[in-house]
Symmetry: D3
Subunit: 245 residues, 6 copies
């Protein structure tokens, strides 16, 4: 029995539920998925400010998961917020959905394009591509300019807009596949892929399978160096509950 | 039921069997593993010449797999020989063990070192790290200078030599994990990892789980561009059986 | 009159005072320096976990600075924590001490080495060098393995240890200068530099001068794209005070 | 007397003859050119599959050349198939036409564009540019979408199509020269260059001169490491003739 | 009292005066600015040839500055001609306006575009971006195709042309700021910036502040390695006055 | 009949003669070699200052060569001084010995090491490797710390010192060949190569053959962009003879 905790780092419950459904849809029969939102932080993540302030809540969920014996974690926001800090805290593997989707994209094609939400997040997607080694494989990042929390609002017509942008991006960039740049797009990934006729990749699903794979292989985050558990230390004020003993 | 064909591109049957055991040890209950060697080609792969001549036999096995309804393939040689050609031929995903191991290493740590067989293969490992985007994550490639087919010969003392080299390489390079640079080392991966106390990664096991994951996610190689099926074409002479109709 | 707020993102008051002294020592007569620690967060920053949790307090200080009419900010921790988020929040320029020191190093020589505190922070220093474009100029990162809060403890003999490491690092790496990898080393920068006989660079001093320069040039963070102010959004729970209206 | 063997790795005899003419047109009076096609393999090379299966025949020609005392070799296909394996086998220098053309382009200008045949080969051209160190110098790869064997078919109007694409590519990319991406274009290189008024570079001619130069300088492939002769080894089945003794 | 010598490496006196005004406009009250042109060399710098031949005159000015006790130098031509040689010769810091502007651009945004004079200088701007580590941050280089000495000629309408190109370049490249690619544009930097509404950066102003900052920090060019003073050596012919004793 | 002018950019006549001998030793019977030193400039080139001041004399020799109908040029100093300016001036090809040697090294092996004169030139060699695209192929730069003009002084024992350093560098770096980093080492290249048993490459010889090859192929420097002839312009003072009309 493998227990995977999927953490949506924003506080939008409806999105968390949709993410949980996507993860469960691909999980093995022997895997239990718990999908949660933090009790603190931003309603959605659309800036460096939002992302930075989503991390404490995310880390609190990791700490709670460690007490509950969770085997591995998915960080279900395309900026992969708090990923290195989460790796220090968790004993099992932690995978972000941006890295997961980009890894998968390089296994099914040479180049991929990212289709994301707001233009202001384009730089962050490129940063991650550089950090993960996929700056050459990533051939373009395209914004649909629909805010995160309007993706599931029928008025935004997101499904159609994203489908058209996926097709246009692959054509413009000569890409083999599309990486969806927001967990809020996971719900319509399969439909978009069917319609455009080439791989469209949702990081929630891929990350779930990668965590399952790492757990079954007995591979945990190395504690040799950078990702060793944080040193015991006092935390002050509002954040005193994060003190490491 | 998922059918994965694990192809050892050299003709050493004992090695093929050991590779099959490693793949089956991590495969899901619903996965069938077929491990094969080609009927033509080199006894082991230790040079560009060997690698180039291992590819026709490998491609013949892919073609046979397509007739047999195989769902996905593992190329079980650390040079990932013939990987792009195999992707053109197979309808399901194809994963090489070098790429698989390097992907996994970047999910459980920042930097990894490769421990390989002969010194002359060091350049090839670096090439792959560059191609896959892991040139920064790869911090060193170290040869134990034991030929492939002597790895399971007690006289080579390979298990001890490799264990010591893994520990020394991680120390010298400040690496978080070790990637084993030969399918012939898969058999003692778990033991080495236990002994050194940090992740030691065998690509055969990882590639098997990655193919399982891609198949369950419905992700196949994109046929949009470079990996479209080969065009119909006549092949001459000794290789006429490779004609594409 | 220019008002620069120097934020030490950890809660160690003694260190904040020392940092304030260093900034004031180089500031122009017309510059006012305010040096502060946040009211929440870790006592020192020595891991990704510490760094992530130092950011909310830092951002609260930026927000307070905006109300107080501050002209520019220095983030006085070598990991440059929260720098992009701070840039979204502040109307004036924000400079981190790692970027400041690295910029200066490339103006006074070809290659530099970083001398930092704990080994586990070496990866972070390399990350920053890559992000800022100085991966080629940075020729080595060396840890003295003295924790941040022991740097000013006579028992750690930090001054001597750091001096020797600076000399050894420049020699080993063929570097032209040394970048000190912790704000806690600022106090003895001048002395170390005198002793080794080549430039040893403290980011607190450089960042102070860079903020002064940018303010006097009328250069503020661009709001064209990624660094536009955060969108209005509700923040929940412990972090509700960060809500953007 | 220098003997250079120019190997067209596909089995199209007419193309081999045209390639031989181009090589002879630039060779020194003291150079003998032998132009050959392998007895096995694909009629043309337009995919990774084709390229992989062209290599055995190419290597057989190198082996034959070694018995015949050949001084150096040209691999006359723009993918430079089998180049590292050929270097292990040959005692004299081996030069591929893609590398030759790219080297020359960087000696007569800052940036070049590649004009190639089918779109699916664009990725391969970029791969080579990366491997050879010319990723910055290569500013674009453009496909004319004429199959290799139709280049000399008047119906394809290849000469005109390629001329127009060369002019357009240089303009779009701000390039100083064009590298022709197929040995089948060698025949009309001079004419295209005359018409567009800037350097258009055919790798067959350049590679011939580079091999001549290396031979006259006494420079052979180093056998210090990766390119040492293959180790003695048995080859099975269809490929048993490749056994190394 | 800080004495900064701003060297316009071409012989156009009007341009030198305009550059001096720009530098003085941003200099601290305690700074003295001397703006000079060399007594030998080209009237303007628009090619590698011009740039190479501007260097002797520039170095003569540095040598004269050393006798006059100058504290630091600005090289006021966007190609940063002779910068490494000047660093060997000067005891105080030397900053080029291209590097200065690019450094500043990365402190106020993620990506910048360069707006330069003639198309033929585009490659040089990219070269500098690569050398300084800003190849990723530099998202485009755009030529207005107005020769250097016509920038202040009303007939060229340079102010309007440059303003429009700055706006268009930022839009096309998704850049946060513009770097002006010629000292001759310094005079209208403020106006252009006001009009486009985002940071437009003139290297003359930034370099002046950077030299001030380095001088006040006591940071001089390191003499540990590459930038040590030139060895004593005889110079012949026309250049005998450059002999180092 | 091909006329190649080999320009030693320093004023050391003995060295120029030795360089001329090396070029003539490899030139084709139909090639005329003229080896010259400029009438102005430094006695040897060992710093950026020396290099910058060697360029005017070099360019004067190019201009003279153009009047004399020279077909192509070799710049015989390992820093490749003035190469882009020379390309603007010359109608035929211009090749530097550093680029020539590095190009050749990548054709006979995967990695090379450079063996140079003084430590202070190590950075320049790396710069060139980066500019030419060979930063990955260049695995190390090693200084023998013998000044240029003492290389042919028996007291320096240069031949032995260089031989030992070549062997040690290849071993330390795992290189396939050595590139000699000074034209003054050309005279003993063959002997060193024989002694170490792997390719040792002298750029003078290679550049001569490359110019021959480019001339015979009709490949001249492109005038499409950056390397177009310099615009007509007045030059002042000492350098007035460089005026372009």
């Amino acid at each position: 029995m493998t227990h995977i905790k999927v953490i949506n780092p924003n506080t939008a419950r409806a999105m968390t539920e949709a993410i949980g459904l996507c993860a469960r849809a691909v999980a093995a029969p022997s895997t239990t998925i718990t999908a949660v939102s933090p009790s603190m932080g931003p309603a959605s993540i659309e800036s460096h400010y939002d992302e930075a302030l989503a991390v404490p809540g995310l880390l609190a969920e990791i700490a709670a998961g460690e007490h509950a014996g969770v085997d591995g974690y998915v960080i279900a926001c395309f900026g992969d917020p708090g990923l290195p800090a989460a790796r220090e805290l968790a004993s099992g593997p932690v995978v972000g959905i941006a890295e997961a989707a980009m890894h998968a994209a390089t296994l099914v094609g040479r180049g991929f394009s990212v289709v994301t939400t707001l233009s202001r997040t384009v730089g962050r997607a490129w940063d991650l591509a550089h950090q993960y080694g996929f700056a050459n494989a990533c051939r373009g990042v395209h914004a649909c300019d629909i805010p995160v929390l309007e993706l599931d609002d029928p008025a935004s017509d997101a499904r159609r807009v994203v489908t058209e942008l996926c097709a246009a991006a692959a054509e413009a960039d000569g890409s083999d596949s599309i990486v969806l740049g927001c967990a809020g797009m996971a719900a319509f990934c399969a439909e978009v892929s069917r319609e455009v006729g080439f791989p469209v990749i949702d990081g929630v699903a891929v990350a779930t399978k990668l965590v399952e794979a790492l757990v079954s292989l007995g591979l945990r985050t190395s504690t040799r160096g950078e990702y060793a558990p944080p040193r015991p230390k006092e935390y002050a004020g509002l954040l005193r509950e994060f003190t490491v003993e």
